[in-house]
């Protein structure tokens, strides 16, 4: 009897996935879990995007038309939380799950069962978070940065749900990061030395270290909130001897590395894609690795540039100003390396390359507005205006999101076994590119002119630019439904993809057939 069962289990293991829905619930296969992460991230991207549509619809004209201010606050908060923790981070974890074992010649992630658990925590966390919108007091309304005392003394009842949701997301991210580090450090194929690893693997290794360093601090931060709200402590309450400014320090100690957690894997993906379509090896591989590590290190000592106006001492402002500007140096190294990789290359502009090139240009614009914000005296004017909104959307949308789109198009043939429709892909790119710039570029101007963020109404002089922003946002939003269509079309059919669909591509992932078999590298490949 037991022999029969063993036989059965063995047969399943050797020949492919289990049948039915339980395959996805119980799977420990890195490709299945990667797929789950990517679909989950895309669902959250659409959900967070629909919140953004509500915001832009309300801001289409001055005055209050569509939603109550209280609900508007919930929309800005939930848009930020869902996009950061639900869309961008899980999408990169999904890419890591799919690609890291393939890129380093490992049969799977090092801790496959934990991998399953870290994914399935996420739907639970977001169910908890989104359910708060339907509670009597409404959902979180204090901004995605949930500053105390807005999120403690003056928070809606549902804040406790929010805190537990953050705890679950944090546990999920930490387990995911431990898994990535264990996989990269322990499961590399023979001959794959650290300095031979593809850059996507390198940037993820560094990102994973950032995650295990700062997610526990976020967990501590929300735990302190929980204790202030329910157990009578006064971490953030001045009346009891605490300090709300302390909250901002603890939050941004997590928050600043967090923004690099969202961009470093995109740096890695772009560093895979640009050499492929330039048909040249990446310029300055070693400097890319060191630049990434420097950015990660610097991210820990710049957090107070988010709080120049709270009243930190002059010497502190100067330190955080110069440390922040220092980040431009390793980032500049990266941008110049990407440009040098393209220099005199045999360039072609397939969809992944279009997204990657747009990434380099538009991310640099976001970087430059970041430098403007880093100037402490100037920041007093920019603080809490739409200029800040323009800045971080320029680094997150054409940065993180375009990096994810580029990766998706680049590796879709490997995942599905079909080529995506190049014409549709290019259309998706151009609609996204135009929509995104229409949305966020005018925000620089209204921000510099003094339009405050997170307010559902505005003065008449901002009306035209806001209407342009809203039109761009509707365009960008609708375009992403089109992306869903392209992906489904690619899954269901299309030209069969060869093992290596891009003639300039390098790396172990292209040595396995397309679509990648359920089990790959069960015997490690030899890397020379």
């Amino acid at each position: 009897m037991s022999a029969v069962i063993d036989d059965h289990g063995h047969a399943d293991h050797a020949h492919g996935p289990a049948k039915g829905l339980m395959r996805w619930v119980l799977t420990t296969n890195h490709k299945d879990i990667g797929t789950l992460y990517l679909w989950f991230a895309f669902c959250m991207f659409l959900l967070g995007g629909s919140f953004a549509m509500v915001i832009r619809a309300e801001l289409f004209q001055p005055g209050l038309q569509i939603v109550e201010p209280a609900f508007f606050n919930q929309m800005t908060t939930m848009h930020g939380l869902v996009m950061v923790f639900g869309a961008v981070m899980p999408a990169f974890v999904g890419l890591a799950n799919w690609m890291i074992p393939l890129m380093i010649g490992a049969p799977d992630m090092a801790l496959p069962r934990m991998n399953n658990f870290s994914f399935w925590l996420l739907p639970a966390a977001f169910l908890l978070l989104v359910s708060t919108l339907f509670t009597p007091g409404g959902g979180p309304n204090f901004g995605w940065t949930f500053y105390a005392p807005l999120s403690t003394t003056y928070a809606p009842e549902s804040v406790t749900y929010f805190i537990f949701a953050i705890h679950l997301m944090g546990i999920s991210s930490i387990m995911g990061a431990i898994n990535v580090i264990a996989t990269i450090l322990n499961l590399r194929a023979p001959g794959m030395t650290l300095m031979k690893m593809p850059l996507f693997v390198w940037t993820w290794l560094i990102t994973a270290f950032l995650l295990i360093a700062v997610m526990p601090v976020l967990a501590g931060c929300v735990t302190m909130m929980l204790m202030d709200i329910h157990f009578g402590t006064s971490f953030f309450s001045a009346a009891g001897g605490g300090d709300p400014v302390l909250f901002q320090h603890v939050f941004w100690f997590f928050g600043h590395p967090e923004v690099y957690i969202m961009i470093l894997p995109a740096f890695g993906a772009v560093s895979q894609i640009i050499p492929t379509f330039s048909r040249k090896p990446l310029f300055g591989y070693t400097s890319m690795v060191y630049a990434t590590a420097s950015i990660a290190f610097l991210s820990f000592i710049v957090w107070a540039h988010h709080m120049f106006v709270v009243g930190i001492p002059l010497v502190g402002e100067l330190f955080f100003m110069y440390a922040t500007m220092l980040i431009a140096v390793p980032t500049g190294v990266k941008v110049f390396n990407w440009a040098s990789t393209m220099w005199q290359g045999s360039l072609t502009f397939e969809t992944p390359m279009l997204f990657a090139v747009a990434f380099v240009i538009l991310f640099s614009i976001g970087g430059f507005s970041g430098l403007m914000l880093a100037i402490a005296p100037a920041d007093f004017q920019y603080q809490d205006t739409y200029f800040v909104v323009a800045h971080f959307h320029y680094v997150l949308v054409p940065g993180a999101i375009f990096g994810i789109f580029a990766s998706a198009y680049y590796w879709l043939p490997k995942w599905t076994g079909h080529m995506y429709d190049e014409t549709l892909g290019k259309l998706h790119f151009w609609l996204s590119f135009v929509g995104m710039n229409l949305t966020f570029f005018p925000m620089h101007f209204v921000g510099l002119a003094g339009m405050p963020r997170r307010i559902p109404d505005y003065n008449l002089q901002f009306a035209d630019f806001n209407m342009v922003s809203s039109i761009g946002a509707f365009m960008f939003g609708a375009t992403q439904i089109f992306f869903l269509f392209i992906v489904i079309k690619t899954i269901r059919g299309g030209a069969p993809a060869p093992a290596k669909p891009w003639d300039g591509a390098e790396g172990l992932e292209w040595s396995v057939p397309s679509p990648a078999p359920y089990h790959t590298f069960t015997t490690p490949p030899e890397v020379k």
Binding site: P216, G220, A239, L246
Partner: protein, 183 residues
């Protein structure tokens, strides 16, 4: 390459980092106090006065007083005078007045702040109503003193200090005990 012993070791170490960083998050709380003290921000003034007990008649510093009620705090709360002129080394006193206009006993806590922050390390309070909590019965009014010494070593370019108090309603946290007038 994947020998399970080293995997176990690695994961244990990484979990150690996670725990350490969780603890570090809480360690930021006392660390923040230390930094505030070092930089003189957040109302952290200097401790006991240990300088010369001699009044510096050659120099005068204007000390301004501000009082603010935190949101929803109904008490009347104000200094008797907006400012005074202090000689470094001398003991000065200012009386703050608080009155509970409501019909229920309430407790309050005043939280100080001082500007400019460079001067905080040279400002010594010998007595302050912010050291304790105040309990007022309905309609009761009290006068609360703050005594301070401006340090003789305070940088010469500081000619003007502002001492500000924000009054918080802490009735929910510390229910007032009847007949305790506090002080």
């Amino acid at each position: 390459m994947a020998d399970s012993i080293s995997l176990k070791k690695l994961v244990t170490r990484l979990l150690g980092v996670v725990v350490a960083m969780f603890v570090f998050g809480f360690a930021l709380v006392p660390l923040y106090d230390v930094m505030c003290k070092a930089f003189g921000i957040n109302g952290k003034t200097a401790g006991q006065y240990e300088g010369e007990q001699v009044v510096d008649q050659s120099r005068q510093v204007r000390v301004q007083f501000l009082s603010t009620n935190n949101i929803d705090m109904p008490w009347e709360f104000y200094p008797k005078h907006d400012e005074l002129t202090a000689n470094p080394g001398a003991v000065n006193e200012m009386i703050f007045v608080a009155r509970n206009p409501t019909d229920r006993p309430m407790s309050a806590q005043a939280v100080p702040s001082i500007a400019p922050s460079e001067a905080a390390a040279y400002f010594h309070k010998t007595e302050c109503f912010c050291f304790t909590q105040q309990v007022l019965q309905p309609g009761q009014q009290i006068e609360m003193p703050v005594r301070f010494i401006v340090d003789r070593d305070m940088p010469k370019d500081v000619k003007h200090l502002t001492l500000s108090y924000t009054l918080f309603d802490i009735t929910a946290r510390h229910p007032p005990v009847a007949a305790n007038t506090g002080g």
